[in-house]
Symmetry: C2
Subunit: 395 residues, 2 copies
C-alpha cells in the first residue's frame, strides 16, 4: 500500500490553503455582504471586446493561436508589454500564467530552503504561499502610510535577506503606496546590500489621484524583477501576466517556466493582445479607475460616519483595499465570525502575516460591492467593531 | 550590485533548456522536412467549433468565464473529465495547465532532493525537466515492444525508488504500449514496494488498432496519479489538462497548485468544455485517429522501403512517434547535423535519457508531415543513415 502522507516531500509541510479562500466560502450565504474578496468587478469586464477579439483571432490565426508556442510568450504580446515600460525591450519580457506564477518561478530560481525574504507586515498572502513552498523564512518590514519603512528594511537586510518583496503601488492589503523618496531609499538599500527586489504591480494602473511614480524597475533595472498583470485591468480569468527582468536574472526563470508548464496558453495570449492593442485597454482603464474611485469614496465616507474612537484606516490613492487598525483589546480573527453572523465579511489581519500576528487589523475591499452594500455593510461592520447592536442583516 | 548567478538557488543548476526545442529552432529553415517536433497537426484543430464555443461562452457566461475561479477547476469540466473514467468522481479531478504542470506539481509534492524516480530509458524529456527542478536522481528501466520490462523495474525498485513514471499508451518517444500482463505486473510491483505511479496519458485516445487496455489507474486507483490532456485530442494551445488521484494524494497537490498559479485559465476551461460536451470531441477524435493512422502507415512503409540492414524500429498502434534503433557504429547525435544539412530533422536519442546515453536511437514523429514530406524526408534520412548520397534537398 502507498502511504501518501509519509511519501510527501518535506516542503509540503509548509503548504497551506489560502485563508482568504476559506473565508470566501463562508460568504457564499446569500445575505452576507462581502468586503473580503479582492475580485475585480465583473461588470467592468470588456466582454464584448473579448468576444470580437476571440472571433478575429480564430478567424485570422486559428492554427497558430491554438498550437504549442514559445516558452517566452507570444512575441507581439511581449512587444506590447515592453512598450508600456521605459527602456524595456521585448526580450526582457516573460509571459506567465498570472503574477502568482511569477512569484512561484522567481522563488524556485532564487530561494533555497532557509533563505530569508523581506516582506511588509502585513503583506499579500499569495506571495507568502508561493514562497512557503520553497521553505524560506521571513523578515518582516514595517509599513506606514508612505509604504515600507527604510530603517526597518535596513534592519532586515542587516539580518540577512535573499529577496525583497514589494507592492509599491496601492498595496495589498494596506492600500498604501511607496512614496518617491522611499522608492529611492529602497533601491539604494537593495543596491548596497546586493539584494534583488521582486516588484509586484497588479494595481499600478488603478490610480485615482496624484501622479504615477516611477517603478522600482525604472530606478534600478539591474536588480528588479517586475511583475505586471492583465487581471485587474482586463480580466483575471485569463490568468495572464508578465515578468520584466535583466537578461541574467531571466535565464533560469525561462528554464523553470518551461519545466513548469511549457508556456502560457497561446489562445489567451492572442486574445488578450487583440483586446489590448490600438489603445482600447488604456481607454478601458479610465473607466475601471473611475468606478473603483467612486467605491473607495463611498467606503471612506461610510467608515468616517460609522467607526468610533480608536480606529484608524488607510486612504488609498488607488487599487482596491482599505486597511483598518482596531483599538487594543479587539481581535479581528475572533470578530470575523460575529461579523459574518451579522451579515458582513472582511479578511482578518492574521491572513497577511507570515508569523501569526495581525489580530489588530483587517482588510476591506471595495471592488465588488454596490453603493448600497457599502453603506449597509459598513454600518453592520461598525456595529460589530464598536460593540453596539448591528442593524438587521436583512436591511 | 546584484550578482544573479551567485544568487541562484541550488536547484537551478539542474534546469536545462529542452533539447528538442533547440533542434526545432534549426528546422525553421524552409526546406527542412521535420520529423522532430511532436506537434499535433494544426489542420485537425476544431477551429470552427472553438469559435462558436467561445461565442456561446461569452454570450451566456461572460462574467463567470472571465473571473477568478476555484483552484480545483471549473466544476462541470471536472465532471466531464470524471465521466471518462470508470469509478472516478469529479472530486478526484484537478484541472492543471497542461500535463507538464501536473508533472511539476507532483514532483513538488512528492520528491525531495536526492529521491529516485524510475523512468523508462528512453523517456519523455519534459518529465525529466520537471523532475530535475526538484534535484532528483533517475533509475532507468528497460523498455521493449511490450513497454516497461517488469524485471528491470523490480531491479530499480530494489535500489530504492520514490515514484514510477509511466506512459502506458503509445509512449513518447518509443511509440510502444504497455501490454496487459505487464500493466498488471507493474501495478503489482508498485503495490508491493509501496511506490506510487505517475501515469502520463497524452496519447491514449489516439489508438489506431486493437482494443483499449485498462489504465493503470483502473487497476490500482489507490496508488496512481493519472494525467490526461486536451492537447492531443483538441488543441495544445489551451494548455489544459487534468490529474486524477486519490483524495489523500491530491491534498498537497491542490495546495501546491494554488501556490503555483491560483488556478488554470477560467476562460479556457469554459471554452474547452463547451467544445467537448455533447459528444463532439469523441466524433472529432475519430477523425484525428484516422489522420494519424494514415501518416503512420506511410512512414512505416517508407522506412521498410528505404532503411538498410541493421536498423530496427517500433510499429506504434497509436500516438505520434516511431523509434529507430541504429546499428553499432552510428551516432544519432552526430548524424543529426548531417541530416539537417540534407534537409531532414529528427530528435537524437540522447534527448530522451537522463544519463547521456541514447546515441544509438532516434525519434521520428509523423504527426505534422504531409504524405509527400514523409516519402521524401524518409528517403533523405535513409541516405544519411545508410551512408549513401542523399537525394537533393530540393526534391
Amino acid at each position: 500500500m502507498v502511504n501518501w502522507s509519509e511519501l510527501a516531500a518535506g516542503r509540503t509541510a509548509r503548504l497551506k490553503p489560502s485563508a482568504i479562500r476559506e473565508i470566501l466560502k463562508l460568504t457564499q450565504r446569500g445575505d452576507v455582504i462581502s468586503f473580503a474578496g479582492g475580485l475585480p468587478a465583473p461588470e467592468l469586464f470588456p466582454v464584448n471586446a473579448i468576444r470580437s477579439a476571440a472571433e478575429r483571432v480564430l478567424r485570422d490565426h486559428g492554427s497558430a493561436a491554438l498550437q504549442y508556442s514559445t516558452t517566452e510568450g507570444h512575441p507581439p504580446l511581449r512587444e506590447w508589454v515592453a512598450s508600456r515600460y521605459a527602456g524595456v525591450g521585448a526580450e526582457a519580457v516573460q509571459i506567465v500564467s498570472g503574477s502568482q506564477q511569477g512569484l512561484d518561478l522567481v522563488a524556485k530560481c532564487y530561494l533555497d530552503p532557509g533563505d530569508a525574504v523581506a516582506v511588509a507586515a502585513p503583506t499579500y498572502p499569495g506571495a507568502l504561499r508561493a514562497f512557503d513552498a520553497y521553505e524560506v523564512r521571513y523578515r518582516e518590514v514595517e509599513i506606514d502610510d508612505d509604504g515600507l519603512v527604510p530603517a526597518s528594511l535596513q534592519h532586515a537586510l542587516d539580518d540577512g535577506v535573499k529577496l525583497i518583496y514589494v507592492i509599491a503601488n496601492f498595496d495589498n492589503p494596506t492600500g498604501v503606496s511607496l512614496s518617491l523618496p522611499r522608492r529611492h531609499a529602497v533601491v539604494d538599500l537593495a543596491r548596497r546590500y546586493g539584494v534583488p527586489i521582486f516588484e509586484d504591480n497588479p494595481y499600478g494602473d488603478l490610480r485615482f489621484e496624484g501622479h504615477d511614480l516611477p517603478h522600482l524597475l525604472d530606478l534600478a533595472p539591474e536588480l528588479v524583477i517586475h511583475a505586471g498583470t492583465f487581471s485587474k485591468i482586463m480580466v483575471p480569468g485569463f490568468r495572464l501576466a508578465w515578468l520584466v527582468a535583466p537578461a541574467e536574472a531571466m535565464e533560469p526563470i525561462r528554464k523553470a517556466k518551461q519545466a513548469a508548464d511549457l508556456h502560457t496558453s497561446t489562445f489567451v495570449q492572442y486574445v488578450a493582445l487583440e483586446v489590448a492593442r490600438d489603445g482600447f485597454l488604456d481607454e478601458r482603464v479610465t473607466v475601471v479607475r473611475e468606478h473603483y474611485r467612486g467605491r473607495r469614496d463611498l467606503m471612506l465616507g461610510a467608515l468616517e460616519r460609522c467607526l468610533g474612537e480608536g480606529f484608524r484606516w488607510t486612504r488609498p490613492a488607488g487599487g482596491m483595499f482599505v486597511w483598518i487598525s482596531v483599538p487594543d483589546g479587539l481581535d479581528t480573527t475572533v470578530l470575523a465570525k460575529d461579523a459574518v453572523q451579522a451579515g458582513v465579511a472582511y479578511v482578518p489581519g492574521e491572513a497577511f502575516y507570515g508569523t501569526g500576528r495581525g489580530t489588530d487589523g483587517l482588510r476591506l475591499s471595495y471592488s465588488v460591492a454596490t453603493p448600497e452594500q457599502i453603506d449597509s455593510g459598513i454600518a453592520r461592520l461598525a456595529a460589530i467593531l464598536n460593540g453596539t447592536t448591528p442593524p438587521p442583516a436583512s436591511e
